[in-house]
Symmetry: none
Subunit: 282 residues, 2 copies
Amino acid sequence: MNILEKIANELDTFSKSERKVAEVILSSPGTVIHASIAALAKQANISEPTVNRFCRRLDTKGYPDFKLHLAQSLANGTPYVNRHVDENDTAEEYTDKIFESTMASLELARKNLDANVINRAVDVLTQANKISFFGLGASAVVAHDALNKFFRFNVPVVYFDDILMQRMSAINSRQGDVVVVISHTGRTKSLVEVATLAKENDAIVIGITTDSTPLAKECNIVLSVDVAEDTDLYMPMSSRIAQLALIDVLATGFTLRRGTKFRDNLKKVKDSLRSSRFERKD
Amino acid sequence: MNILEKIANELDTFSKSERKVAEVILSSPGTVIHASIAALAKQANISEPTVNRFCRRLDTKGYPDFKLHLAQSLANGTPYVNRHVDENDTAEEYTDKIFESTMASLELARKNLDANVINRAVDVLTQANKISFFGLGASAVVAHDALNKFFRFNVPVVYFDDILMQRMSAINSRQGDVVVVISHTGRTKSLVEVATLAKENDAIVIGITTDSTPLAKECNIVLSVDVAEDTDLYMPMSSRIAQLALIDVLATGFTLRRGTKFRDNLKKVKDSLRSSRFERKD
DNA sequence: CGAGAATAATGAAAATTTATTTCATAATTA
DNA sequence: TAATTATGAAATAAATTTTCATTATTCTCG
């Protein structure tokens, strides 16, 4: 809880001298965070030890620690929350809301991700003979992005956003292949079938989806991206961004696992693009 | 400015020892606010005066004052900084860093976005006869995503990630058409040419790119997405996520501008997907 | 109700911890 | 090689905390 609120709440439980300190603090907390214990004691007309005891009473380690808490209370702006866009929002307002919701979702997704599972997924990916990324609709975008990333690693990698191609590809998969199936809902029938087919053909199936969904049940490894999707406007928004961040994580894990030499290779890929660009003047 | 961001920003201007402190602070700011100057110095393997000088360099009065700022930064909603992934990071560490960097980039992108420009872009989009999204590589993913979004609006919309198709499409554009060109660098020659072609053929060109680049100069409207891209691993990461968030903003602006009736239409599109999904049990 | 014992609150001064300054030395740059 | 800058050991200064004696408050019991 905010320490200022706490002080206000417990005002009655304080002793006479303590209340004096409390009042000084409440009346100008901004000044107090820059004051020494001596200065505060003087302003409240009480002794330094009393201030110290006051701080301890509020479950802080002492005066400096108390000031830290106070500083945090003062700074406590609104953290990112999923704020819904409103009919009459101005451009500025809905822009802010969307960015904040997105950040809130990322925060949430991160919390729900299990580092061990990521580790296993990276393990599997680094050892794959071939990697396939499948998604439909908004998740196709994520698969597309994954292709872009993993393509640079000089590993056989494919991406399909066409149900038939996905099925054929899944049926042709074999031991050593890894199939990454992406779906926010985890309920898209054809994708669940593709996952099943791939697994039946000995591929390792990694699902980027919501936990305990039909798709999740078909996967060998489930990277669960749980975000509260704002479906107000009937469009997937945050979920795909969290999925993309996860792709970044996997790609990063991949490069780290592959070691330094491998990263030189990435630089080569990057340099190869140079001639297609206008030179930077600086 | 947030003192954590400040540290991250000025990392290059620090001396060797100062950088050591900076790294310790960035890696666990939460611990530092409870540490004495001696403890921090020891952890960073440098002397106490160096820590003190480090604090002063960041425009604080000294170590205690620095801790106050740090505490405020931590409480300040954005503990997110662009932290670089390190060779020996565990899965947990690099996952956290990537999510945090992404959030930091979103924060930055939001700050740099101009609501007026967004408003104009939405204006133009709502009045378009046809909308085209062009991008290459990582930006193709963003264009792809834009297609997914705008397609739902029942507006003629196309997306190409093929240079030739982009050129042909640009040449065939006419008054009333809107072409959205996406490129983080803003220096990809063929895309700049496409923008020029589209403009010459009376289309309105919206650029989602970095300010004052060759591409930006060719556009009628520039939505500048300035994010500090971490090119350590030679892969575009944050930039495309910020671009996607911007697409969300544009799509949202679009739906808001079109009014209530229009949103019923969106619901229809969404409902049409239902039969392709497994039912939810709850 | 009130004397006095018990308890709690308080502050002066000492002790301790923490931060800063000074200054000599080491590292870096010109 | 000189000049500059960065760094840390030690000394100093500042601040916080502890100790302990004193004062205020509360409680008990005649």
